[in-house]
Amino acid sequence: MAERSIGIQDVQYVLKRCPVTEVQPHYGGERWITRGRDADGRELEIVVVTEEDKIRIIIVTVWSTD
């Protein structure tokens, strides 16, 4: 993320506010893709995997679509 100048704060900002745009099957679970603008107005696309047994979101990748 750092090499794309995207920080934890930017990812959290988008995850808290933006809708899940796509859900894909992923090894018996689901992989979610969310898309939205961060506090600087950049559009980010974030791929996350959720875990059922723990309150934890795994950020697989994130990139700016601008």
Partner: protein
């Protein structure tokens, strides 16, 4: 936990000292970050707990250190408050253009304005940072020191660890971020 790329089993270990750079603000996390390595494909993954709490702690602690805030740190403060440039400008009763100049290092923040900025950041985030002692006088009485060797970059790494903490009246302890003892740094 399984690998999110190949679903292989992962081996986890707690890292003694993890250095992270949060968009120009260096931080060291002691005995908290977990690294998981996939035994099949070798992909590794870092797990940082309570990132919201960590960001709030960094912001409050940095506001209580007398070294002048760099442009990167000013941007960090705005993002810690989850504000756009326009929202932050409204908070500081200035224009978005001025905030942009602060963050791009083309115009410094005056000492008086910086003290107000620090107070506002601490007031808004202190409840999320119970590990950092804050009182308004700490900033009021502060003499902000300018480091002439610095450009726009933040320099001093802040060191944190997670500890168990029970709030007054609470029945259960929670894990919070706390400033790590200096020997850990």
């Amino acid at each position: 936990m399984n690998c999110c790329f190949c679903n292989g089993a992962m081996k986890e270990e707690i890292i003694d000292r993890h250095e992270e750079n949060l968009l120009g603000v260096p931080v060291v996390l002691v005995r908290t970050v977990v690294r998981a390595v996939c035994q099949s494909c070798g992909e590794d993954m870092l797990s940082i707990p309570d990132t919201s709490g960590l960001i709030a702690n960094i912001a409050v602690l940095r506001c209580l250190l007398s070294l002048k805030l760099s442009s990167a740190e000013l941007k960090f403060m705005r993002k810690a408050l989850e504000m756009t440039g326009r929202e932050f400008a409204a908070l500081m009763e200035t224009t978005p253009e001025t905030v942009s100049r602060w963050e791009n290092n083309s115009q410094g923040v005056g000492g008086y304005v910086e003290k107000i900025l620090r107070q506002k950041v601490c007031r808004l985030l202190k409840d999320q940072a119970p590990g950092v002692d804050y009182a308004p006088e700490m900033i009021l009485d502060m003499k902000i020191v300018e480091d002439r060797n610095r450009s726009g970059e933040a320099s001093i790494p802040l060191v944190f660890e997670q500890v168990k903490f029970r709030r007054c009246g609470a029945t259960h302890a929670e894990r919070i971020w706390d400033v790590a003892p200096s020997k850990a740094a």
